[in-house]
C-alpha cells in the first residue's frame, strides 16, 4: 500500500512545485533584480547625488558606459575642487530595467536616503515613470537619455533633457536626406520595425507620417516586446514586404539580433536606418564589421565635434576607461555638466531656483549649447551618422558633416 501512496504524493507535490516554478519564472522574466552600491549616505558633506540605473537587465549594456560617464564627471568635479567647495559623491542603485523598481529607488533616494541632488536614469521607458517622482518631490531631474515626447508632454517644471533634441526632432535629418534625393532614385517603400518603447514607437509614427507625405509608402509596421530574442520571423516578414528602406527602432541588443536575422533570410535594403544599437561598442563585432557599411543612425553626440570641453572629455575618458566614450557615457557627462552649471549659478542647493535658472539660461556642454523650453525639451538638433569603412561619420546636418552619404547600402557580406 505504501508503495502506491508514495509516488502519488510525489506526483501531487511535483505539480505543486511546478506551479511554484512557473510563478518564479514569470516573476523573473517580468522584473529585474535590484541591488545597491556601497556609497555611503551622509547628509552634510559631501554633496550626495542619487540615481538608479538599469545596471542589470536588458539595458545593462547602455547603463554601464552611462554609469562611467557619471563617474568620470564626478571625479573631474572633485579634482577641480568639488561643487560649492564640497566634494561630490554618487549613490547608485540598480533598477534592473524595471519601471516599478526605478520608481521605488528614486522614492527611496529622496525620502529615505535624503540625497542632496538627483541625476536621471536611462531609456524613455524608465524616465517616463521616474520623472513624476522627482516632480512630486520638487527635485531637479536631468535625464541623460529617453527623448520620447510623452515624457515632456506633462509640462513638468523640474525636468530637463541633456541631449540636443527629443524624439520629436529625431527623424528630421534622415527624412531630409530622402527628401533631397532626386525623385527617380528616391525610395518608394519603407518598413518600420521597433521595440515597444515610448521613444522608438513615437519616432516610428513620425517617420510614417513624414515619409508618407513624401510619397514613401509604409509596407510593414511592427512593434515587438523588449524581451524578444528571435527576430527570424520578423526579418522574414520584412523580406516578403520587400521595402526600399528599413527603419529599425532598436533600443539595445535587439538591433544586432534584427540585423543578423536580416542577413540570415538574405534581405538587404537599399537604405537601413537604426536607432541606438549602432553606437554600442560591441555592434561592429556582433554583426561583422563589413556589414556595418552604409548603416544610418541618429547621434546625440560625436567625439569629433569641437564643442567646448569635448576634446578633453574624449581624451580623459579614453585614458581612464581604455576606449573613447560612447553616446551614453557622453550623455551622462552632459547631464552632470548641466547639473553643475545650475548648482554653481544658484550658489546653493535650492531645487526650485536651479530649475528656474535652467529655464532662463543656456549651458555650454560637450554636445553643444543647451537651452530648454518650459517643459524641459532641448532646442537643438540631433546629428545623422553613417557607418563608412568601420567608423561612424557625421553626414548631416551639413554644418557638422564630415563625410558624404553612401548610397545605396552595400549588400551584407
Amino acid at each position: 500500500m505504501s508503495r502506491v501512496a508514495r509516488p502519488r504524493t510525489t506526483s501531487h507535490r511535483t505539480r505543486r512545485v511546478l506551479g511554484a516554478a512557473v510563478a518564479v519564472a514569470l516573476l523573473a522574466s517580468g522584473c529585474g533584480l535590484s541591488g545597491s552600491s556601497d556609497a555611503e549616505d551622509s547628509p552634510n558633506d559631501p554633496i550626495v547625488i542619487g540615481m538608479s540605473l538599469p545596471l542589470s537587465g536588458p539595458a545593462a549594456d547602455r547603463a554601464k558606459p552611462g554609469m562611467e560617464g557619471y563617474q568620470y564627471w564626478a571625479d573631474e568635479v572633485n579634482a577641480n575642487g568639488g561643487l560649492l567647495g564640497r566634494t561630490v559623491e554618487l549613490k547608485v542603485l540598480d533598477d534592473g530595467f524595471d519601471q516599478q523598481t526605478a520608481i521605488s529607488d528614486y522614492n527611496r533616494l529622496i525620502s529615505q536616503d535624503k540625497v542632496d541632488l538627483l541625476l536621471g536614469t536611462f531609456s524613455s521607458d524608465l524616465n517616463l515613470a521616474v520623472a513624476p517622482v522627482a516632480e512630486r518631490h520638487k527635485y531637479l531631474y536631468i535625464q541623460p537619455s529617453g527623448g520620447a515626447d510623452e515624457i515632456f508632454a506633462r509640462d513638468f517644471n523640474y525636468l530637463f533633457f541633456a541631449q540636443p533634441a527629443t524624439t520629436q526632432r529625431l527623424p528630421n535629418q534622415f527624412v531630409k536626406v530622402i527628401e533631397e534625393m532626386p525623385s527617380a532614385s528616391r525610395p518608394k517603400t519603407v518598413a518600420l520595425v521597433q521595440q515597444d518603447d515610448p521613444n522608438t514607437t513615437q519616432a516610428a509614427e513620425i517617420f510614417a507620417d513624414r515619409l508618407g507625405a513624401l510619397g514613401v509608402t509604409t509596407v510593414y509596421d511592427q512593434t515587438y516586446a523588449p524581451d524578444t530574442s528571435n527576430f527570424d520571423t520578423i526579418a522574414n516578414a520584412i523580406k516578403q514586404a520587400d521595402p526600399d528602406v528599413v527603419i529599425s527602432g532598436a533600443v539595445t541588443g535587439d538591433g544586432v539580433s534584427l540585423v543578423r536575422s536580416l542577413q540570415k533570410v538574405g534581405f538587404s535594403p537599399e537604405m537601413f536606418y537604426q536607432e541606438n544599437a549602432p553606437t554600442s561598442p560591441t555592434y561592429a563585432q556582433a554583426i561583422g564589421e563589413a556589414n556595418t557599411e552604409g548603416i544610418f543612425t541618429p547621434l546625440a553626440y560625436s567625439t569629433e565635434t569641437d564643442f567646448a570641453g569635448n576634446k578633453d572629455f574624449v581624451a580623459g575618458y579614453a585614458k581612464k576607461y581604455g576606449g573613447p566614450p560612447d553616446e551614453d557615457a557622453a550623455n551622462s557627462y552632459t547631464a552632470g555638466q548641466v547639473l553643475a552649471a545650475a548648482v554653481e549659478a544658484v550658489g546653493k542647493l535650492d531645487q526650485a531656483a536651479m530649475a528656474a535658472w535652467l529655464h532662463e539660461n543656456t549651458v555650454a556642454t560637450i554636445v553643444g549649447p543647451l537651452s530648454w523650453d518650459a517643459a524641459g525639451r532641448p532646442q537643438g538638433e540631433l546629428l545623422l551618422a553613417q557607418y563608412q569603412s568601420g567608423t561612424l561619420k557625421v553626414v548631416a546636418p551639413e554644418t557638422g558633416a564630415n563625410a558624404d552619404i553612401l548610397h545605396p547600402k552595400p549588400n551584407w557580406q
Binding site: 514569470l26 520571423t233 540570415k264 556582433a286
Partner: protein
C-alpha cells in the same frame, strides 16, 4: 504562401533550438524530480565560455560547445554536490529555491567577469542560409537542430540501454530498494545531474551563435525551457521535442500573423493552457499510481 511556409520553417528550426536547450532539463526533472532553475544560467555560462574561446582562438564555436560538455558536466557535478544534494536531503522542494539562487548569483558573476554588454559568436556560417527556391533555411539553426536530435537520442539510449541508465531510473523510483541491490544512489544521482549539465555545453554554444546574449538572458531561456517541458510532458524526450516544435511554430505564427508584441507571451500562455487542460503534458504519462487510484 511563401510567407507561411517560411514562417513554419523558421518556427520549426527555432523549436529545434528550444529542444536542444530543454533536453538536459527534462532529463534531470523527469528522472530526479529536481527542477533545476539554474539550467538556463548554465546555458548562458557555456555561451560566454564559447564566445570567449572563439574570440581568442577562432575555433568553430559549435566544436567548442562539444568540447565544453565535460567542463559543464564538472560544473553540474559540483553544483549537485555542494548545493542540490545537501538541500534535497532537507526537503527536495527546496532545490527550486536553491537553484534559482544559484542562477541569480551566476548572472551577477557573469556580469562581473564579462560585463553586461551583449555578445555573440559570429563564425562565417552564422548568417548563411541554404536556399530552396524562394525559401531559406538558416545554416546555424539547422546545425543546432541536428545537434538537438542527436543529443535527445543519445540521452534516451543512455537511459534505456546502459547500466548507468538503469541505475538512475532505479534510484529515482525507489532510493532504498536501489541501495539494497547494490546501487550507490548518491553517486548515481550526481552522475545524472552532471549528464544533464553536460548538455548545456552544446546548447550554450548554439545560443552564442544564434542569438545575442547578456548575463541576464537566462531568465528568458528558463521561461521557455519550462514551457517546452511542461507542454511536452515531464521527463518525456519525445514530448520535449514536440513541445519545442509547438512553441517555436506558435511564436513564429504569432509574430508573423498576429502581432510581434505578443510573441514573447506565447510560452506563458501555453503553460497556463496546458496546466489547465492536460496537466501531465501532451506526451507525459500519468504516474502509475495515478492509474491505480483511478
Amino acid at each position: 504562401m511563401t510567407l507561411l511556409l517560411q514562417t513554419l520553417i523558421l518556427g520549426l528550426l527555432a523549436g529545434g533550438v528550444y529542444a536542444l536547450m530543454s533536453s538536459g532539463f527534462t532529463l534531470v526533472f523527469g528522472v530526479m524530480k529536481v527542477i533545476n532553475l539554474a539550467h538556463g544560467a548554465m546555458i548562458v555560462v557555456a555561451a560566454f565560455l564559447t564566445w570567449w574561446l572563439w574570440d581568442r582562438t577562432g575555433i568553430d564555436p559549435l566544436l567548442i560547445g562539444v568540447c565544453l560538455s565535460p567542463v559543464m558536466a564538472g560544473i553540474g557535478w559540483l553544483l549537485y554536490k555542494t548545493v542540490i544534494a545537501r538541500v534535497q536531503r532537507v526537503d527536495w522542494e527546496l532545490t527550486l529555491v536553491a537553484s534559482f539562487g544559484v542562477a541569480v548569483a551566476a548572472g551577477g558573476v557573469m556580469a562581473l567577469i564579462w560585463g553586461a554588454e551583449g555578445h555573440a559568436a559570429t563564425p562565417s556560417y552564422v548568417t548563411a542560409s541554404f536556399e530552396l527556391g524562394s525559401l531559406v533555411v538558416p545554416e546555424a539553426q539547422l546545425y543546432a537542430c541536428v545537434g538537438a536530435v542527436v543529443l535527445l537520442a543519445a540521452l534516451y539510449a543512455l537511459l534505456r540501454g546502459t547500466f548507468l541508465g538503469r541505475a538512475i531510473r532505479a534510484s529515482s523510483a525507489n532510493r532504498d530498494s536501489a541501495a539494497l541491490v547494490g546501487i550507490t544512489v548518491e553517486r548515481t544521482m550526481a552522475a545524472m545531474f552532471a549528464i544533464g549539465a553536460a548538455t548545456t555545453g552544446f546548447a550554450g554554444a548554439a545560443l552564442s551563435v544564434l542569438y545575442q546574449f547578456v548575463p541576464d538572458s537566462h531568465y528568458v531561456w528558463i521561461g521557455r525551457i519550462l514551457c517546452v517541458v511542461i507542454l511536452g510532458g515531464l521527463g518525456s524526450f519525445l514530448g520535449a521535442g514536440l513541445g519545442a516544435g509547438i512553441l517555436g511554430v506558435s511564436e513564429a505564427l504569432t509574430s508573423s500573423y498576429v502581432d510581434a508584441r505578443w510573441a514573447t507571451a506565447v510560452p506563458y500562455v501555453l503553460i497556463i493552457v496546458i496546466l489547465l487542460v492536460r496537466p501531465q503534458g501532451l506526451l507525459g504519462g500519468r504516474v502509475r499510481a495515478d492509474g491505480v487510484a483511478a
